[in-house]
Symmetry: none
Subunit: 162 residues, 2 copies
DNA sequence: GATCCTATTTATAACTC
DNA sequence: TGAGTTATAAATAGGAT
């Protein structure tokens, strides 16, 4: 019965902390869904417990929202991002013409090129560390998005041009 | 003064809908932050308005959480490789040693390599014809599967953090 | 543990400035 | 527009089962 108001600080007692982790997550997810319905918006929640367990929710879907975020200019993955300290992304920013000389490749990019040339994707990926995997995963997402966009473009043209 | 309880359905009146969109987002973000503090967890929220405006929040950061999600086995990257009945394995199923000399690249592969080197994925993909798109899509699938497999491999080796 | 209960705290719909 | 105010609905801490 909520004997007293909550202090917003880490709950010391493990059992209580876990109960709160479970109960509040339910509340958070419900609020997120109500939010989308009421305001005709799209929202997603990503949660990782201290132990590393994953919980996620998204409307219409978590993957769609993550994709949308990744391709958004305000994300570090987005085309217009590329802040000084942020992780490097492909297509590093300019809508301008291609650079006169190739930009230096990251280690991950170098691995990919090598993998393609040797037709041995597996051997290249097999050595990646977690950070590189995340980078590669983000890059793959970008390719997927562009493939989808190109497909849409083709579809649109075929309707008009035959 | 909350004259009546909220019905969870799309708010018709535009002004009201937008007010709710703004106010509830504040509440959602606050709850998310409190949640992380109280239960010692990590959480992120991604929101897109109906008009396409982006709002995001993450603890410790949105990018970190998205990265963590992307590389998590339960994301789309992990799902497909997880099951025994999943798609067949990449790289032609051969456990054989790599070829002594590089195989000739397909036109698509050549495009990809060039794209990586120029950091201009978009321009490369933008010129693809449907057949090439299919090929690229297949390549992307292969990367996804190997990322997932590698992720699984890492997880198995390390006991992981606390 | 999960789920139900319920006294309180918290969030917020309508309103005002 | 956006930032309070306040009466009421919703969420929830601690208990009970």
């Amino acid at each position: 019965m909520v004997r007293r108001r909550v202090e917003i600080k880490a709950i010391e007692v493990k059992a209580k902390r876990h109960t709160t982790f479970t109960k509040r997550r339910q509340g958070l997810f419900k609020k997120t869904q109500d939010y989308c319905t009421l305001s005709d918006s799209q929202a997603a929640v990503i949660v990782f417990s201290a132990a590393g367990n994953f919980f996620g929710l998204g409307h219409p879907s978590l993957n769609l929202l993550v994709n949308r975020y990744i391709s958004h200019p305000k994300s570090v993955f987005g085309k217009e991002a590329a802040g000084a300290g942020g992780p490097r992304v492909l297509d590093g920013g300019g809508a301008e013409d291609g650079p006169a000389e190739p930009l230096p490749l990251t280690e991950t990019e170098r691995r990919i090129v090598e993998a393609i040339e040797r037709k041995r994707w597996d051997s290249a990926v097999g050595d990646l560390v977690p950070e590189e995997l995340s980078e590669l995963a983000a890059e793959v997402e970008k390719i997927k998005l562009m493939v989808a966009a190109r497909k849409k473009e083709i579809k649109g043209k075929s309707k008009v041009d035959g």
